[in-house]
Symmetry: C2
Subunit: 334 residues, 2 copies
């Protein structure tokens, strides 16, 4: 069966600034299965994620830049439509890294079968997907979080941040959550039941604010933003504190990065700062899936989705994501 595949392509690299719809094209190309082991998939849900911003520049990075005028990739959930594979049958739900398009053909080895527990299928792009896994690896594998610690989370209402808050609460930690709108503050307080949530945009001096709200300081900081926020946190870390660097959304569109002026605190307070990328941990999902499936079944996890309808709206959704207009996971429904 030949089918018309609609896909989003990047027209030009965007060295700085927020991407806009004019940086992308919608393109249609005919595709079909032609080889053994190939599978034709219809995407149902596509994930847009902050890390994709780094792929829109042509700088060398941990993951190659998107190829201009070629389909962009990323996490997606789809359904098998036609198959030359012995592993996949028509109707199977599959996870792939073939996002930003509605239909695609790929070799079976690029697909992972989903055996869903009783949650909406798009949870496999959220708490049970990339983002839940990122929160889990950062807290436990990288940061070795222990019970009863005081944990600060930035971008706490984001897809990763909201999982971090809840995983840390499940561990018996005290959770302080930073976010950028009052609506998100309410969600964090009333639904995710963090110990304290605040809108950082309304705080004049973060260091003084932290001193006031959390006078003993932080044992653990899950950093999604970088920049001046990170600097302020370092001033308020406890001795032997840990900072796990997962993202730096405050710096992603910045033309000149903020300098971190308080490295003295890293020495004097014997801090550990560790950066990590989920791509290094993709094979190590078993414990994560087991724990998070259990927590979901026990009703201990909540999540929100910001759903945008239609593939052609992905670029706009992505721009909104970088500006913090979403709550929870930003998803494209096809």
């Amino acid at each position: 069966m030949e089918i018309l595949s609609k896909n989003i392509v990047l027209k030009d690299y965007i060295p700085t600034g927020t991407p806009s719809t004019k940086n992308f094209n919608v393109r249609e190309i005919p595709i079909k299965i032609s080889k053994d082991k190939e599978v034709l998939v219809k995407n149902l849900w596509i994930s847009v994620d902050p890390y994709m911003r780094t792929r829109m520049t042509d700088r060398k990075n941990y993951i190659p830049p998107f190829t201009l005028n070629e389909p962009m990739d990323g996490s997606a959930i789809g359904e098998v439509i036609e198959t030359n594979s012995k592993i996949f049958s028509k109707g199977d739900l599959v996870y792939s890294f073939c996002g930003w398009r509605d239909y695609f053909v790929t070799n079976e080895e690029n697909l992972e079968k989903i055996k869903p527990i009783d949650v909406p299928i798009q949870a496999y792009l959220g708490p049970l997907g990339f983002t839940g896994h990122t929160a889990y690896v950062g807290l436990f594998n990288i940061g070795n979080l222990q019970p009863e610690k005081t944990v600060l989370v930035s971008s706490a209402a984001g897809a990763v941040g909201s999982m971090v808050c809840q995983f840390a609460k499940i561990m018996g930690c005290k959770v302080i959550a930073s976010t950028g709108t009052d609506e998100k503050v309410e969600w964090l307080k009333n639904e995710l039941l963090v110990d304290h949530a605040f809108n950082y945009k309304k705080v004049e001096n973060l260091v003084l604010y932290f001193k006031d709200k959390c006078p003993d300081g932080f044992d653990f900081y899950f950093d999604n933003v970088g920049g001046e926020f990170l600097e302020s946190v370092i001033y308020r870390m406890k001795n032997f504190g840990k900072i796990v660097i997962c993202g730096r959304i405050s710096q992603m569109n910045a033309t000149s990065p903020t300098g971190l002026k308080n490295m003295a605190h890293v020495l004097v307070k014997r801090l550990t700062i560790r950066g990590f990328l989920i791509f290094d941990h993709l094979k190590d999902r078993a414990k994560f899936e087991k724990d998070v499936s259990k927590w979901i079944k026990e009703g201990k996890l909540q999540w929100k989705e910001t759903v945008v309808q239609g593939l052609e709206n992905s670029p706009e959704a992505f721009a909104n994501l970088l500006e913090g207009k979403n709550i929870g996971k930003m998803l494209i429904k096809i």
Copy 2:
């Protein structure tokens, strides 16, 4: 026996800048043993160390500021002159933290007996003392250094740095050594046999220099200087590299610290940065002493001392230390 104890006291706190002799006084006070378990010690060797600079400000820190107009403390080696202790006999060699004075009285619990191997006694302030221990803990306990890594060391001809270079060579690592005079470069190359040594003051652009001399980058950086040097190194770290922060001598007299602008590299290259202080590890000397005594006996370790005669010259020696005028351990001989 009453004896006149000469000691150096700090007159005023020094918020910024290099301390000079005018910041200190020489004072004499009569002392004698009066209680059970007290010991009278004559200091033979006193250590002056960069970390002492932080104690000359009244800022809160990992170790309290020196008390103004009271004897300053620090590592020292002395000989027991008179004793009310069952543990220490006259003539015993002892290690203490009662530096910056010629004679002192203290409780036996503040002294540690030295059973010297066949090295000059002041080695217990150097390779077998505080500084050797600092190098050992930083490389092995904090950084978990593995064989055959590429290790960069700053202040490599200093007391700690020169031990780091040699311990790393013993581990089979490739060692790149940075220092501030050509004389030190020669010593590092010809005596300590590091793989490459250079005078950083003669390098215009450190990042390009590193790229040229060590194109594959560094696995491990033992940081004694902080500031712009650290920033340049971060640009050239390999993926999963480790940075152990032991000191920040470049920033100690600085009025405004240098901002670290490349935290993006910590994320993208999954770096670990850890600060440590030797004070947290003082009880954990057994493995260090065993290894380093063995290496000394095998002739695998060399060290230099810059010896200044006379307690009254300690302030000047300390100022020279901060300006890098020493090679190896800066010691006061009494």
